[in-house]
Symmetry: D2
């Protein structure tokens, strides 16, 4: 049974996200996943803009994967369910499942984040405030 | 006194819409205006995807302008008010006013559309169903 | 007679720059114009990244316009000719003319830049090093 | 020892490919990989635009992965080496290695493509003309 998602994000495929093959351009699925991640951080009271501008740490993505299960077209409404796959000492893994209007699973993505010191770029333990919103 | 907008669209500036100067990349303001246009067409029962896929006409943009009144940052909520500036025999002009969370006018854009035959690409009179949703 | 361009930039329309109407998405024409501007600054020994990171001034775009004279398709090679339209006390205007493989003028764009203090954001006289590469 | 790449692609990180964290936005690494793929197909005499518009088959991406080994900044020149990882009966896997100006490996990506019938969308054997350019 799938885990209950930590966060759900609704959007629509926009024209500029499709290409002349008529479908969502593959890299834009990861852009949409990141939009869901940003909306999750906002809803959790720790907006990404605040992390980047004010916090002594960053959470860069070091690995990503994406699967394409069905084509998506301009105007299609989609729901992206965000789940925390794993929380490590200085990293975490997020999963994104995309569903179309018929609740069909049309794609998925994963992002692996590490926590680093903003100044040195060196790996640091995951800050408590980040750990808290992921748990 | 400003005209009452035909449609209002709410969104947020996403990270991928900013650049390393730290602000909304200028061309993306027009992308956001187009998102508002797509949302307006959907709300009017004439989605752009339906026009492109099924209708004998297209409504390509032949001219656009954009003004930048204040910088916009990642995470900023914005409202885009869409107004019809002019409806001609075979063209129409849309205006977009962008407002930040303090109702400050932070940018504006304009798109000029012509109606053309999908097959020949020749200018044709504005279809009635388009004229109707603009009036 | 058209002015001799200050700089010429060659590129190709990529898939992700087209949309499901099958053509270059209109806002991406301005993105391509900006690519030409960045290439011009690099070739002039004053890369935009250096301006943003190291210089006490910025050159934000306050206005832009774009005309679409013919559709552009994925894979189309294009040439963008950059011309300086006007140099003012604290601003400059650049024009971009797009040509397809048959030397047909398929689009044009314009960007209006002002020079501002990086810290205060206030308008300042155009720095000499910028003026020099524009003349 | 690394395989000799099938194709090398040179580009630069553009401003609109970075975000306000100051680096290449992660999803754009896959966009750049796809640019390399398009350039490879063009150089091989089988442009992607021709496949999409004229051929009875398509080569959609069903899976992608990407690793980020070092941050990339606006203006950075990069080289992308494209290698064929695997050719199956109706699929192929491409790898992309990104190198900065110091020949440091700064990122990598992979795209898995399947060949499908353009009309039915059903999996079909890899067309000979595609197999030929990959071998």
């Amino acid at each position: 049974m799938p885990k209950k998602p930590l966060f759900s994000y609704q959007t629509r495929i926009r024209f500029h996200e499709t290409d002349s093959a008529g479908r969502l351009f593959f890299a834009h699925q990861l852009k949409l996943a990141h939009d869901a991640y940003e909306a999750f951080l906002e809803a959790s009271g720790l907006p990404l803009a605040v992390i980047v501008r004010e916090k002594p740490y960053d959470l860069p993505i070091v690995h990503t994967e994406s699967d394409y299960l069905a084509p998506l077209f301009a105007g299609d409404p989609i729901r992206i369910d965000l789940t925390v796959d794993r929380i490590g000492r200085s990293s975490f893994v997020l999963s994104y499942e995309l569903y179309d209007r018929h609740q069909q699973n049309v794609g998925r993505a994963q992002t692996v984040h590490v926590s680093v010191d903003s100044v040195t770029g060196k790996k640091i333990p995951l800050p408590d405030e980040v750990r808290r919103i992921l748990e």
